[in-house]
Amino acid sequence: MVGGTSESVGSTRVRASTGTPPAWRPPDERRALQLVLATIWLLDGVLQLQPFMFTRQFGTTMLAPTAAGNPNPVAHSITWAAHVISNHSVTTDACFAVIQILLGLAIAWRPTVKAGLAASIVWAVMVWWFGEGLGGVIAGRAHTVSGAPGAVLLYAVLAVLLWPSDRVGPDPSFIAARAVGEPVARLLWVVLWGGLSLFAMLGSNRSADGLRDLVLRMSTGEPAWLASLDRHVADALGRRGLAISIVLCVVLAAIALSVYLPFRPARVMVWLAVTVALLIWVLGQNFGQVFSGSATDLNSGPLLALFAVAYWRHRPPATVTPEVRRRVAVGMA
């Protein structure tokens, strides 16, 4: 990096005023999270190469139905995109796969990390619109457990939070704040987890059978052990959908507000957030249904966990009060 700007892909911020490239450094925490994001993009790209994706059904049975319930202009655009994709399924799917694989590789390769993250934001928004029907948010189909507000939107949010630059000022207390600053990062946390809390209580999600039906629906096409797990979970949920949704709503709301807590309780809540995300991923999303042969991504669970890890609080620097400083000075004298 030339001209005294901050280069922070590696482990520490390196300022170089000469034309020589900075020395290679092992990945720091943020870089590690970027690499996890790159791995997930790479996986998504290769998932796109599954045989089902090259068929017309990808457009007609997976994309087109997401238009339902959306406002007319949105629904029309989704239907149009699904029509184009189903008519040129091989070409379009090959392009999708290549784009996503390239996104993963671009994020993983240091010289192209910014281009990769920027392109991933654009691509994620497009997929959120045309591929996920805005995550069902407007249509009222969104549910926290099934992946609201759309897994792909989380890729874009993570790309912003993990952007490889640092704001001027004191070191932030968590990785997610390095690029956008603590106030904005905290706001994003509140909006995301608060939104998930809200989605848990919207529309049919309040019904007694809502959660059980959602879990049971996913058992179709899954391997025996996962389908069996689904059935057990569905039995356990029974007709207690409303009560469980209320509990989930409260827990997620507590997580949302925990970003303003001090160091130790905030860390506990990050642990809780990761645990909830992984529970949702395993029990509610069947690992993103990757075993079904028609999954395009891992769904929101791993991304929520990654998002939470980016808010892991660093130990605050030891504060030295004027009184302590005076005593030390006296002692040294």
């Binding site: 290679w24 690499l35 791995t39 091989v90 993983a108």
Partner: protein, 240 residues
């Protein structure tokens, strides 16, 4: 569900190319007295040809049973190397911070190949027109969690390697010589050298390392590993 033939052929072509490159690389490295990474390159050649044969049956050079034996041998070799590395670290003879992950990833690759041969069900397709194997069905499908673990490990390795690729910039050519003690020591072995190349943290730059011990085209070598991980991941995903 039928799989696009052109895609299988494309991946097979890449795998054959990688295998040929690894053979050529090994010959050139030997001629120029460079680090050879014999075990890694032999395993890459075997995996490349094995995958090409699985993707396009007419390219299959050996019977499946023989391939299984080859990959079991490779898995045992990297297991032994990993154990030996750990023992040497425990006894204080090696101070390298990295190395186990190098053996581990090649062990995982060998195990993934074994899985592909053991768990796959021969597809009822015309010879030479599509993959010779499909995913396990019925009771066998209960093991689908295992390939997912393989896939995640392989992709994480590919991404990790790509992240480390920029350490070998032309302006930092001396880094190619990754002059760790183990790489330049009298007892240096191919796998130990490659631990420095593939591993990352264990490799310390040294300007005193002689040209003869430098690795030949390390970025291309890492590129081969990345391509191999992606192709293997693709094949495993088809078996999910």
């Amino acid at each position: 569900m039928p799989h696009p033939t052109w895609l299988a052929y494309s991946f097979a072509f890449v795998m054959v190319a990688v295998s040929l490159y690894c053979v050529a690389w090994l010959i050139m490295a030997t001629r120029r007295n460079r680090q050879r990474h014999v075990d890694v390159n032999i395993s890459h050649v075997a995996m490349g040809l094995g995958m090409a044969g699985t993707l396009v049956p007419r390219l299959n050079l050996l019977p499946d049973g023989l391939w299984e034996a080859v990959f079991v041998a490779i898995a045992l070799w990297f297991s032994w190397q990993g154990v030996r590395f750990l023992m040497q670290r425990a006894s204080g003879r090696d101070r390298s911070a990295h190395g186990v992950s190098h053996y581990l990833i090649h062990l995982v690759m060998a195990l993934a190949m074994i899985y592909m041969y053991l768990a796959a069900v021969p597809a009822q397709t015309q010879t030479g027109s599509a993959m010779s194997m499909t995913g396990p069905t019925g009771a066998g499908a209960n093991f689908v969690g295992l390939p997912l673990v393989f896939v995640l490990t392989l992709f994480a390795s590919a991404v990790w390697q790509l992240d480390g690729l920029s350490r070998y910039t032309p302006s930092q050519r001396d880094l190619v010589g990754v002059g760790t003690g183990m790489a330049m020591g009298s007892g240096a072995r191919g796998s130990w050298d490659s631990a420095a190349v593939h591993g990352g943290e264990g490799a310390q730059p040294s300007k005193t390392c002689p040209e003869s011990s430098a690795s030949l085209a390390p970025r291309l070598e890492m590129g081969c590993h990345i391509v191999m991980c992606i192709t293997m991941g693709y094949m495993l995903i088809l078996m999910l």
